[in-house]
Amino acid sequence: MSTANRETPPPAAGRAGMKKELPEHFKDYRHVWVFIELERGQVHPVSFELLGEGRKLADKLGVELAGVVLGPPGEATWHAVAEAFAYGADLAYIIEDPLLAHYRNEPFTRAMTDLLNTYKPEILLLGATILGRDLAGSTATTLLTGLTADCTELDVDADGSLAATRPTFGGSLLCTIYTINYRPQMATVRPRVMAMPQRVDKPVGRVIQHKLAMAEEEVVTKILGFLPDSQSAKANLAYANVVVAGGLGLGAVENLQLVRNLASAIGAEYGCSRPLVQKGWMPADRQIGQTGKTIRPKLYIAAGISGAIQHRVGVEGADLIVAINTDPNAPIFDFVHLGIVTDAIRFLPALTEAFTRRLSPHNRDKLAS
């Protein structure tokens, strides 16, 4: 049983006792950090979205913004550092070590906790990805600090505390959460919840290199191999510019073909609402909403989706939302930009045909191939 030693616990900070009494040993924690998620040579774009958000927090606090890069020795790791600068980091903490070549919980948790204990940031943001959640949970528990998952809004209040807002109960309510007496204040944010900041060319920044105090013999878990997902079957909903989705209003599993047809006619990604995944009509990686993917396309077309609150949470970042539904009172019409009260089963083929008529012959061939 490993529990780190702590000084006397702070006074109870219940809803009644919101008084902030940061213990002395946390008072020198300063600056905002963003974990730059690097996996198999690629930086996950959520890292850049978080740098945009971290920049705002750092500016409000009058502190610096740092990126944390953990990776194997070599070019990909340094490229991730350069990208962190391009998206707004003032400095980067980097640990290059062969143990960090592929994600494993043990060396990554050791690397992260060691950096945090050494350099003491007040805020650490990570993407709420598979990797980010695995690392954040271990790290926060090791440091016995607070961690707020899936935040949709981040701000700092007058006394400099991080105010992390997240949906609860499937998005029916929002709650704002503070980590009053512990540091760092940690939060995860799902991909596409925050906007992508402007990239700046030829960036500069300071680099602080750190060593990982761990040997391969100490790491129990070994990677035997990696099976990439087949590219053809893989949904890239989160970063698609145009998304078409179907819901229960389509009535039958075969009508999902109408959604797929429209998507392929306009080069869009397709998805669905939660009940369709529960029925087994579509795989889970195509689910859009609070428990599925958050999307942020330029255009989102929802066909036969009623618009439960948990679906709304996942699509509100879209620039333009179009809803097709037979029920004029469906909740989806409360948060979309354009609505048509009609039967999606009949309308989708007409819409597909109308789009196809407008496509240039060149693009028609390209999409057909």
Binding site: G170, Y178, T221, K234, I266, L338, V341, N363
Partner: protein
């Protein structure tokens, strides 16, 4: 082998209603279920027990009524159930929850045999954090294998386990050691229907009920609201969008005309889509 699986009784989220004035969750009459993700972990635990022999202990922390969820888990075929319930746990965040559960797992180990594997679902549908599993692993110093899609093999003699773990863009094949903590991904196995024998046994079973003291928890400052570094300061309803959707009038129009009208309306509002959609620009 001995497997401990942590489950949670959650409100059936499809039926959550929020009080329009107080913004509180109206739990009155809301049905509860076993967190759906936990059922995949339970199924995996039962399969391993059936293949390797041994016992499955189900553990939950919650109010006294969480006993229903445990009894349900027994009908699937779990061997015993432990309810950790105490007013000291009220208001626990994920760190305090992982503390209480890890202490209870230690006590389960002392009482019924040290667990080889601790299972959890990948997350709950009410909290949705996926933080408690990793928290338990860290506190018990167990190896952590999250988002496991498949347990490929277990060798109890050399205490080795190999799993397929979901990661960005593919599956990792990992080799690790027992004891470990596994959070299970959904949908890998069909969930069994418990047998009649299991149902009868479940109805007769005594559920082990532990208070904080029974579970050997001495440091109550680490439990509940006091042991939670995060504090919920404000709860509020999402604001409605100011403008209602612009409705396209469907009266006396052919589907073809409607479709053209919708495309025109889309391009009026988002001219940039002209370049996003593969148009030639000529309408």
């Amino acid at each position: 082998m001995h497997i401990v699986i942590c489950i949670k009784q959650v409100p059936d989220s499809a039926q959550i209603r929020v009080h329009p004035v107080t913004n509180t969750i109206m739990r009155q009459g809301v049905p509860t279920i076993i967190n759906p993700y936990d059922l995949f972990a339970l199924e995996e635990a039962l399969r391993l027990r059936d293949a390797h022999g041994g016992e499955v202990t189900v553990l939950t922390m919650g109010p006294p009524m969480a006993e229903d969820a445990l009894r349900k888990a027994l009908t699937y075929g779990a061997d015993r159930a432990v309810l950790l319930t105490d007013r000291y746990f009220a208001g626990s965040d994920t760190l305090a929850t992982s503390f209480a559960l890890s202490q209870a797992i230690t006590k389960v180990g002392e009482t019924f045999g040290t667990p080889d594997i601790v299972f959890t679902g990948k997350q709950t549908i009410d909290g949705d954090t996926a933080q408690v599993g990793p928290g338990i692993a860290k506190r018990l110093d167990l190896l952590q294998l999250t988002y496991v899609a498949k347990i490929a093999s277990i060798d109890l003699d050399v205490r080795e386990i190999t799993v397929e773990r979901r990661s960005e863009g593919g599956m990792q094949m990992l080799k690790s050691r027992l004891p470990c903590l596994i959070t299970m991904l959904e949908g890998t196995n069909e969930i069994r229907r418990g047998s009649l024998d299991d149902a009868l046994r479940a109805a007769r079973s005594q559920i082990v009920k532990w208070s904080a003291a029974d579970a050997g928890i001495e440091d109550l400052a680490k439990c509940g609201l006091r042991g939670s570094p995060t504090v919920v300061k404000r709860v509020f309803a999402p604001t409605a969008r100011a403008e209602k959707a612009a409705q396209i009038d469907t009266t006396d129009k052919t589907l073809r005309d409607l479709a053209d009208e919708l495309i025109a309306a889309i391009l009026t509002r988002q001219p940039a889509l002209e370049h996003e959609l593969p148009f030639d620009g000529a309408a």
